[in-house]
């Protein structure tokens, strides 16, 4: 079990992580969602032992975490945001180096390298320098390099940045399989779609603070609306706005209005209204609220700002 208690980290005047408390159970697939600069990488680096917290404590399986805690770090694997590999070396050489540093030797190391290359679908390219790989291939290798020593806890710091959809899917499937096999995974991202797809429990972080922490459904119940209806912003839909404003929130952006009805407002009333103004139903699209909506609700800004 990974535990953070009031973990705080400052860089000069900037508080990158502000009294964060968090518990992640064994076998959990936990998502850390926040925009760039929110504190996700700082939290990852504290857990990975790259930096020491200024105050508070971190532990994994009751063993303290930090730069000096080499024993605990042996149970952790980190997939950094960058392609943290030696670009001029081959895939096999890279895996051999990182496996060797984790204490693997001889046939055991060879076997795990073979497995990793198979998993990353790179067995055919094992003797090629990774600088000749596509971005997706490098990302897959970046992932499996963190798994050679079979860590109990895997930290994935935005591991799909710049990856094509096919490789992204491959990475997702592999992570889900690892999680099913019992590996605890902490996955940081600023893509809400990734968090929604992968993580049963999600923490939303911004300005170094955890703003919300719950399951996806639990988080969405924090929104003051259950549905969202978007429609074109033009002269034909303008007469709707006064009535809608009295029954919820209308957010206008560009050429689209978004209507978020108050809780209990029946959608049948909405569509009765559209009929009154002879507006075609195809103009209206109903959305389920997303983490994007929640983040906007919590912070007043979008995830990608």
């Amino acid at each position: 079990m990974l535990t953070l208690q009031s973990a705080t980290k400052r860089y000069g005047a900037l508080t990158a992580l502000d009294k964060v408390s968090l518990t992640i159970a064994d076998g959990e697939f936990f998502g850390l969602l926040g925009p760039n600069g929110a504190g996700k990488s700082t939290l990852m680096s504290l857990v990975a032992g790259l930096r020491a917290a200024d105050s508070g404590s971190l532990s994994f399986d009751n063993a303290p975490l930090g730069p000096g805690a080499h024993a605990a770090r042996g149970a952790i694997g980190l997939v950094p945001q960058t392609i943290a590999l030696y670009a001029d070396l081959t895939a096999q050489q890279n895996l051999s180096i990182f496996g060797g540093l984790q204490g693997l030797r001889g046939r055991d190391l060879d076997r795990r390298i073979d497995e990793a290359l198979e998993t990353a679908q790179l067995a055919e390219r094992r003797h090629d320098p990774i600088s000749t790989f596509s971005g997706g291939m490098q990302r897959r290798l970046n992932l499996v390099a963190a798994l050679l020593h079979r860590p109990k806890l895997l930290l994935c710091d935005e591991p799909t940045v710049g990856v094509d959809p096919q490789s992204r899917n491959a990475i997702f499937e592999h992570l889900l399989r690892l999680n099913r096999e019992g590996m605890t995974i902490v996955y940081s991202t600023h893509y809400m779609e990734e968090a929604e797809r992968l993580c049963p429990r999600i923490g939303i972080i911004d300005h170094g603070r955890i703003l919300a922490l719950d399951t996806l459904d639990g988080l969405l119940t924090r929104l003051p609306f259950e549905d969202e209806i978007s429609f074109p912003a033009n002269d034909s839909t303008a007469p709707l706005l006064p009535d809608l404003a009295g029954n919820g929130e209308v957010v206008s952006g560009g050429d689209t209005h978004r209507f978020r009805p108050r809780t209990g407002y029946p959608l049948s009333s909405f569509f009765a209204l559209t009929e009154r103004f002879s507006l075609h139903p195809r103009l209206f699209v109903t959305h389920r609220p997303s983490l994007e909506n929640l983040f906007l609700h919590l912070t007043g800004r979008t995830l990608r700002e």
Binding site: G74, L78, P80, T82, I83, A84, F98
Partner: protein
């Protein structure tokens, strides 16, 4: 046109922000121009050329002219004249020839002039001197020889004149000396021009009778004492005057006898290669070591440190491995370069293998530390490359990799002792030129070890305070 100017401004801004490019473009050439200019005598103040080369002078003669010669040498900026050594009681005593030989063998100094008891011999004409040398640096040795000749030629004409008078008295007898002097004055006036009466007066008074100050030859720095003196070449010198000077010098060459003896390095098969290979090897070793260390920036940029440090790897291990790699790479590089010297120039490696390997190891350690320090103080890889180019070229120039340290201004000569290049070149030359054993190269090894320790400690301290691992 406007676009052209905007793009031009962009290039200029980019260039100006790249400190490495600015250093390489402006600072490196200025420093090298200054150093080369000094060495080749281009300094505006005229205060250039070799200075302060230790020259031991063993004066066994009681003739006052010998003292004149010693003072003349002492006044020459090229030399730092040493005439005494500490005796057993700790007090200074005059140097002996044995002292000089021993000091030359032990690298105390490289040149000694012995003024024998019979400076003006009873038999024969002229003066007799003995020159002892350790020409571990060819350019320096030739320069010392040249300046020594010039000093003798230009400062002791009276000595030569008196020598001639004494010889003439012996050979022709006192009664016929006057006739001899008149004939000699006539011959000199006919050959070189001038007033015969004045020349005769000079000869009789012990003056030599030639023009008092024969111009020092511009190329004296490039001749050996025991080789014939080529014609002095001075741009703009009228041909007649130059011919006259040439004849004077020919006469001097026959009158002054300097027995030159190389005390150290006679056994060396290829003197030039023995002197050169070490200097150039150490320069390229510094480049290689710095390149290796600055690869730390590439690893940081790739994020590899995050992966390493999140596993069971410490910062110390990362830096230690980098230092060790630099040492081993340096050792391999030096071995390959010396082997190339052996194949190409018949460099004698096998007689000195053990001390050569040990010096190479210590030099590699010092160079690897230097590379680590460059990486530690540089904010970016580009800055590190610029700093490397600047420091390596400067250290090579002042440390003796290209030309003798004695050719530098006095303050640079002192600075050179703080460079890895200086002590590495000293070590290699001690082994390959002087054939010293491990004990003999201990001073160089000690200096290199001390430098390696200090520079590496500084680098580690900087790494701990820096942001390389952030």
């Amino acid at each position: 046109m406007r676009n052209l100017l905007v793009l031009f401004r962009k290039d200029f801004l980019n260039f100006w922000r790249d400190r490495a490019a600015v250093i390489i473009t402006f600072l490196v050439p200025i420093v090298l121009i200054y150093i080369f200019g000094y060495v080749f005598g281009l300094n505006k103040s005229g205060d250039s050329g070799p200075a302060g080369i230790d020259l031991a002078v063993v004066n066994l003669s009681s003739d006052p002219a010998a003292q004149v010669l010693v003072k003349a040498l002492d006044a020459e900026k090229t030399f730092h004249v040493i005439t005494t050594t500490k005796g057993a009681d700790g007090r200074p005593r005059p140097l002996t020839e044995a002292d000089a030989r021993s000091a030359i063998r032990n690298n105390g100094y490289r040149f000694a002039l012995v003024i024998p008891k019979d400076l003006i011999p009873d038999q024969g004409i002229g003066i007799h001197l003995k020159f002892l040398s350790n020409p571990r640096n060819e350019i320096e040795a030739q320069t010392v020889n040249g300046v020594l000749q010039k000093t003798i030629f230009t400062n002791v004409p009276s000595l030569l004149g008196r020598s001639l008078q004494e010889s003439a008295r012996r050979y022709v007898g006192a009664a016929r000396l006057d006739t001899f002097n008149r004939s000699l004055a006539t011959a000199i006036a006919d050959t070189f021009g001038g007033d015969r009466t004045q020349i005769l007066r000079n000869i009789e008074s012990g003056g030599f009778g030639f023009p008092a100050e024969p111009k020092p030859a511009a190329d004296t720095g490039l001749r050996r004492i025991d080789t014939p003196t080529p014609a002095a070449t001075s741009a703009g010198t009228p041909k007649a005057a130059q011919d006259s000077t040439d004849r004077v010098r020919d006469v001097f060459d026959h009158i002054i006898r300097i027995d030159s003896e190389q005390v150290v390095g006679r056994q060396v098969k290829n003197p030039m290669a023995s002197r050169l290979v070490g200097g150039y090897a150490i320069m390229f070793l510094l480049f290689a070591a710095s390149g290796s260390s600055t690869s730390l920036f590439e690893e940081k940029k790739a994020g590899v440190f995050l992966r390493l440090l999140s596993g069971p790897v410490t910062r110390g291990q990362i830096l230690g491995a980098k230092f060790l790699f630099g040492v081993v790479l340096g050792l391999i590089q030096l071995t390959v370069l010396f082997l190339a010297g052996q194949v190409l120039y018949n460099l004698d490696l096998w007689s000195h293998l053990a001390p050569l390997l040990v010096v190479s190891l210590f030099a590699s350690a010092a160079c690897s530390s230097f590379g680590m320090a460059i990486a530690a103080v540089s904010p970016t890889q580009g800055a590190a490359q610029g700093l490397t180019t600047f420091l390596v070229l400067t250290m090579s120039a002042i440390g003796g990799a290209w030309f003798p340290v004695s050719f530098m201004p006095a303050f640079i000569q002192k600075l050179s002792h703080l460079t890895v290049v200086y002590w590495s070149v000293e070590g290699f030359t001690d082994v390959l030129w002087a054939g010293r054993s491990l004990v003999g190269v201990m001073p160089s090894l000690g200096a290199l070890a001390l430098m390696a320790a200090l520079i590496l400690s500084f680098a580690l301290w900087r790494f701990n305070r820096g942001r390389l691992f952030d």
